[in-house]
Amino acid sequence: MTSTFLPDRRTGPGTAPPPPPAGAARARTRRRVTHWLTAVGFQLPALVLFLVLVVLPILFALYAAFFRWGGFGMPSDYVGTENFTRLFDDPVFLGDLWRCLLLVVLSLALQLPFALAMAVLLNQRMRGRAVYRMLFFAPYVLSEAITGVLFGMIFAPGDGLADRVLGGVGLDGLGGEWFADPSMVMATLFLVMTWKYFGFHMMLYLAGLQSIPRELTEAALIDGAGPWQRFRNVTLPLLAPTLRISVFLSVIGAIQLFDLVWVVTQGGPDHHSETMAVTMFQFGFKRYQVGYASAISVVMFGISLVFALAYQRFVLRRDLQGATTTMRGDGK
């Protein structure tokens, strides 16, 4: 899916269609109708599935968010906006929002620059480049659940690999309670997230870097540009479309983070690593307060929707325009 956003200079927007011959207007209309019917025919199954499995649940969640509803039968106890006012009074949910913001900021400030640095490094000619690329990408292939179990063991206080290794090199002081310490749990979680996801972003950047024509860098070199100048003025601007999409994926990922947290801490200790999705799960599937849980999901939906639309409108516009015009060109 992401690859469609990536600028691919080799294929480009395709060759322009030949000018239509005069007097073929009627044939063209008929062809257009046939085209349209074919398109509808092909899309109908997907559309029905999309309506039933995606659109309807969204609308239903929106509806249920205005009820006190335990999940049995149909919602009947209408409470107006009470679920939403309760939500924004709940310190846990407000904490979720704060932690979400924290993860977004940390991802953008640390994880993505790190991924970029690794990508630039592994874009150089060097021995064993493919091996490194594969190694760094490998964590992304692992499922979130396995990652969670794995790091739960690594960071087990006292007995875990992390503490043992630190103890072994005489740094016992650095060891700690990791996921069990309310003040350290987010940092530990972010560490695991970075381990898991930087390889993915690195791969995106590598793909972007490979599509930058070498002539440009060479030209800059001939003009006397140093390594930093070449990176700053040639590589970075040409990598911008990739960076934009990577930021987008990273933010959306932070908003909907669930599996990793659920497996490692279940949101604990004492809600210090809880995310919106975890809170929603707690209320919907443990407390059976499905109306309230729907309100949480509606807010999550709203946040992602606003972010996604704003980001596409203001940041991704340039990148997407190419894509849409290309498609329209093909449709003629």
Partner: protein
């Protein structure tokens, strides 16, 4: 895209659908089988994922199939928490497995109120009367029986005799102050006094519930549930006492992140001799030996100590049992299986092989383990009974109890705030 609520929902819907699909498919299988050869497939959902129980149960199912050639038992085993989540999805779908694990109480009541559970009062009358009354208690709702126990039990302290001895504690404490002294004595010898699974929250609730029972008596706890008011002095005092205990830092390193049955969890800490005791139900020895090495003869049991000046007595027990319920309109084969499972022969086998407590009086002689015998004696002499709070109450209230007591132990809620937030949730749930 860009819709996490949706993808999550989609995922859950998909997994629920997958579960349903499986049920539907197996249902089809059963139906078609019935058409050709008259075989009924009974689906049996349980949480016995640990050994030796897992194998013993599978063998029992085979035995039942041998005795009833026209019945096939299909076992679906899920880990405790996964089971609860999965049941939620199934309940929303309106169809439960033929036989499913239950703890009785508020969760069962909710399922009963939704019309999903079979009333067993009449269908099991001729044999269920012979079961131990205290074991049946959790499944009796308004005088009707909705579940059959295969286990009975209570919560108490399981301790390491060797570690207690090393700390100079020769007899287990019977009073709360004596208990605190024991904790101090263990700490003085650099022994972790108590293992607690802070990540899972329910083990912490046991302390608060027992303390409330010891301070106010079992009746006060029952009454609070009826009045939906947990702000009484018994609960606030319970919170204060628990806070005092937590202040001594008696728990293992990193207990806030510890699970119960993990290799690094609460049971393993006691089973491997790294912590001196845990407050846990009758299944504790089995899990200690499964997740850790197990303590063998070093393992001892003592009831939750009495609180000085409290109204509750040592003979009031907190706990509950495990049982099975049937979905509404379950086939007769499922009832037959429950009868088979609660028969004297099966019960004796369960008692000797899987470490549960007998539910049939005749099977009591099979109990040889001194600790479990002590538990059984306590249970039979019980003058009051309180089911686990997170099972006795409606799910939202039960979870709020677990959650706010966990916050109390972690130091972010005061005893008063705990009592208030539980009361608030209880009142909202009407």
């Amino acid at each position: 895209m860009g819709d996490p609520a949706l993808s999550r929902r989609g995922f859950l819907a998909a997994s629920a659908a997958a579960g349903l699909g499986m049920t539907a498919l197996s249902g089809c299988g059963g139906d078609s089988d019935e058409g050709s050869s008259g075989i009924t497939t009974v689906e049996w959902w349980n949480i016995s994922t640990t050994q030796p129980t897992k194998d013993v149960w599978a063998a029992l199912a085979k035995k039942f199939e041998a005795q009833n050639p026209k019945v096939k038992i299909k076992i679906v085993q899920l880990e405790n928490d996964a089971y609860k989540s999965k049941m939620t999805a199934l309940i929303a779908s309106g169809k439960l497995p033929d036989i499913f694990h239950t703890w009785g109480g508020g969760v069962l009541r909710q399922q009963v109120d939704a019309g999903l559970v079979e009333d067993l009062t009449d269908r099991t009358k001729e044999w269920a009367d012979g079961l131990l009354p205290v074991a049946k208690e959790p499944y009796l709702l308004d005088g009707r029986l909705y579940g059959i126990p295969f286990d009975s039990g209570m919560v108490g302290f399981w301790y390491n005799k060797a570690l207690f001895e090393r700390a100079g504690v020769s007899t287990p404490p019977t009073t709360w102050n004596g208990f605190l002294d024991t904790v101090e004595a263990l700490k003085a010898k650099n022994i972790t006094p108590i293992a607690l699974a802070g990540k899972e929250k329910w083990p912490g609730m046991y302390y608060w519930a027992y303390l409330a029972m010891r301070v106010g008596g079992a009746e006060a706890v029952q009454k609070a549930a009826e009045d939906k008011d947990f702000t009484g002095p018994a609960f606030v005092r319970a919170g204060q006492l628990l806070k005092e205990l937590a202040g001594l830092q008696p728990f293992q390193k990193g207990f806030l992140g510890a699970a119960y049955s993990d290799p690094n969890g609460q049971a393993a800490a006691v089973g491997n001799g790294k912590a001196a005791m845990e407050l846990m139900g009758q299944w504790a020895p089995v899990v200690e030996a499964d997740a850790g090495k197990g303590l063998g003869d070093d393992l001892g049991f003592f009831p939750f100590p009495a609180v000085e000046g409290g109204k509750g007595s040592l003979t009031e027990v907190f706990g509950g049992a495990n049982g099975h319920a049937l979905r509404r309109d379950a086939p007769q084969a499922a009832v037959d299986f429950l009868r088979f499972f609660a028969s004297e022969a099966t019960d004796r086998e369960l008692v000797t092989k899987t470490g549960v407590l007998p539910v049939v009086t005749a099977a009591e002689s099979a109990l040889t383990d001194p600790n479990l015998t002590a538990v059984q004696k306590q249970l039979k002499a019980a003058t009051g009974f309180q089911l686990y709070l997170d099972q006795a109450y409606a799910p939202a209230v039960g979870q709020e109890v677990n959650d706010s007591v966990a916050a109390l132990v972690a130091g972010s809620k005061s005893p008063e705030q705990v009592a208030e937030s539980i009361t608030k949730t209880a009142k909202e749930e009407q």
